[in-house]
Symmetry: C2
Subunit: 308 residues, 2 copies
């Protein structure tokens, strides 16, 4: 997905929110804001939003000297989700369609996204999970996913956030852990799940866990490791969680790919043709490549295609 | 008032909204957005927000070749307010304190601000006016204003927006038209009132109308004409309407000055210590000059003080 003009005010707000969350120093807040404005003024809007998001958060880590500024937020989200896991497992098992219930809870967990909303209360998360089993969802897409999973030889599951990854466990169990490989981010970026979170969720004992070699808040294939890209290209089925993965893979040529996400902003809602707050299961319709996508270069390289 | 970091995402959103309102050309939208980002990245944050707002809207006029892009919106707002004027006049006259009622209606009219909110329905305006006579207001400040007006030899009334200026008439009548000079903007800027709107409101027949010689969406004294500045400095009482005038004059050294406004954003609410949506009458507490304020230069000159 390209970066829409309406993404830009949101980038700017996110830069301020993140700087304040991570640092008490007004000079850091102002500097990250100014650099974000400058980078956004020159960015190539055919890059997906996480290309700039990656650079903003990378710069924030540099400015503060903190390698994992969302570390404690991620730990806290994992602990909260773990405290709810067994109850949710029982509720899913008690439904007429435990597979669909697992899909719903995994999507509902995607609300734990500190990129879109820098502060999120436990009550907000609980409320979304409480209504997840009843909220509207595209039953045919769920059925389509069920069939695709049943016939796929192997499944690559692209995790999104810490906390959420604990609830992904229910869906991974339903998909068949023996054929699932779970992919996390290669380095800390916002509250995206890394190997540490997969371990906290107990998933390293259940499935093969790999990382994608990148610190983008999404899956920018050009920035991922060669081994991850090979895994991605050869997978019988890819399950992609969250907005960042949707934004970065919706323009891909990949074949057997499903997007599972909670829609958290108006731009994504418009792009998907649905409403903010909706739970979405969507089979990817591969696109024919027409233009160079984000190359993951630095602030200046990102701007190369602008003004051309 | 300085430009707070939280003003910046709002500038960016306003630039996009205004460009879309004024032009159907996506190239214009993108160009104004990129130039706004670049200017904001370099701006001096000790300038008040209208200093950048002025440049954004000036650039939009240049890019579109339209000298008064909000002309029809201003006309429409005047017509709507005129259609309500006599009814509101009767309601004000029927209250126990017609002066306070006129203050309330003039403040409520300040909701007609297309800078803060680029689209506003007639119903939203009517709803604000309907509740204006009952909504909370600082009675002591109203009393203070009444006394100041009674003792002042002359009153300079700084108008804010078209439409709103029609309702200002009720307050100007209550203040005593014989000693009021009404100041409008020197050139079209967003939906701020110009001489044309004062005429549409019938005010040119009631009071002396001057313009401030500037196209800033507020009163940046350094950008105003010498004759306006002299009038401002010698006035026995200044009544300043709206957010833009508050933002640009709250740091001034002026003495007998009252701000009347409807609070329309969180930044102003925090600066004033009140809530969004509140009606405010506030006597200005003059500040001792400590730093150069906005010099009204171009996008580059505005950035001079940045990074210093």
């Amino acid at each position: 997905m390209r970066t829409y003009l309406d993404c830009v005010p949101c980038f700017v707000r996110q830069a301020i929110d993140s700087a304040r969350r991570v640092s008490d120093d007004p000079a850091v807040h102002e500097r990250l804001l100014r650099e974000t404005l400058s980078a956004a003024s020159r960015m190539a809007f055919d890059s997906p939003p996480p290309a700039l998001g990656r650079l903003i958060h990378r710069r924030l880590r540099e400015l503060t000297g903190r390698e994992d500024p969302y570390g404690s937020a991620k730990h806290q989200a994992n602990m909260m989700a773990l405290s709810m896991l067994e109850d949710l497992r029982r509720r899913a098992a008690g439904t007429a369609d435990p597979f669909a219930a697992a899909v719903r809870l995994a999507i509902a967990g995607n609300v734990i996204d500190l990129g879109v909303k820098s502060h999120l209360t436990d009550d907000e998360v609980r409320s979304v999970l409480d209504s997840a089993l009843e909220d509207p969802l595209d039953d045919r897409a769920v059925e389509d996913l069920r069939q695709a999973a049943a016939t796929a030889g192997d499944i690559l599951y692209l995790a999104d956030n810490a906390g959420e990854i604990v609830l992904d466990r229910l869906l991974i169990e339903a998909l068949g852990p023996e054929k699932v490989t779970l992919a996390v981010k290669g380095a800390p970026i916002i509250n995206d799940a890394t190997r540490e979170d997969a371990e906290a969720a107990g998933l390293t004992a259940l499935v093969t866990v790999i990382d994608n070699g990148s610190d983008a808040p999404g899956t920018i294939l050009e920035l991922c490791s060669r081994s991850f890209r090979e895994r991605f290209e050869s997978a019988g089925l890819v399950v992609s969680k969250g907005q960042g993965n949707y934004e970065t893979l919706s323009g891909s040529t990949a074949g057997n790919l499903f997007f599972l996400l909670k829609v958290k902003c108006g731009v994504i809602a418009r792009d998907l043709g649905c409403d903010v707050g909706e739970m979405v299961v969507r089979r990817h319709r591969p696109v024919v490549p027409v233009a160079r996508r984000a190359d993951g270069g630095d602030f200046d390289r990102l701007a190369e295609a602008a003004h051309s």
